[in-house]
Amino acid sequence: MKRFLPSLPLSLAVFVLWLLLVATFSVPAVALGLALAVVLPLFADMLRPERASFGRLPVLLKLGAVVLLDIVRSNIEVARLILGPERAISPGFVQVPLDIANIHGITALASIITLTPGTVSAELSEDRSHLLVHCFNLRDPEGVVATIKARYEAPLKEIFP
């Protein structure tokens, strides 16, 4: 199975993408979508990405909701800061120690950090033990680290065990 369908989530993603693109459910379109969903991940697999087992779906959905909410919230927060006087902002870097070892997990975490306004993941240490994060307004480094670990890293550890 792994040989012909290396990554089910990827196949699914391709299929969904295809359906969204063609925006019809005609037989040839769906058939082609299925074919692509099989073939394209095979191509991608030739690049031999690091594999990961995929954990619990409900956690994923919950994490998604949290992230979306955080995005909205921090968007507003950052917009306020930008429009306000600049001296109110005190930016800074913070090293987030990582518990999660899986590269997919790390990637997801870093992406979430970047997508959430106010924080940008700037660098992953070579041993993948620390993520360097730049905060737009860094008042409480420990607090930021703790929030990240609790809100995002913990569920991600469940998703990518």
Binding site: L17, L20, N75, P91, Q95
Partner: protein
């Protein structure tokens, strides 16, 4: 089309345009690269996102019927924005005169080097 829908659409457009503008405004106004780096993330998330939803609604009512293709744009932005932000940050770090990075706190539990090399090599 209901007035409520219309108001919702206008609001979405307003919010979207606002965040896009704020992002670019930050880019101009802020004094330091790392501060500015936070600008476009607004634009690419909430800014574009709101416009996208408005567009879905618009085409669903006026145009070719319901299509969720616009979601793909946000989807792709969610994949690509972190990559570019990450690399820009790394680029800026590599140019920084004195390293602004705080040293990582010691982590006794992960002292030994990892075995797998990762795809980056």
């Amino acid at each position: 089309m209901s007035a409520a829908f219309e108001i919702l659409m206008v609001a979405l457009l307003a919010i979207g345009a606002f965040f896009v503008l704020v992002g670019s405004l930050g880019l101009v106004k802020l004094s330091d690269f790392f501060k500015r780096l936070h600008g476009p993330t607004k634009a690419s998330t909430l800014g574009v996102g709101c416009v996208m939803i408005a567009s879905i609604g618009h085409h669903a009512t006026l145009g070719d019927g319901l299509g969720l293709r616009e979601l793909l744009i946000t989807g792709f932005l969610f994949i690509t924005a972190p990559i570019s932000a990450h690399l820009m940050a790394k680029a800026a770090l590599s140019l920084a005169e004195d390293d602004p990075r705080p040293s990582p706190p010691p982590r006794p539990d992960q002292a030994q080097p990892r075995e797998d090399d990762g795809p980056g090599r």
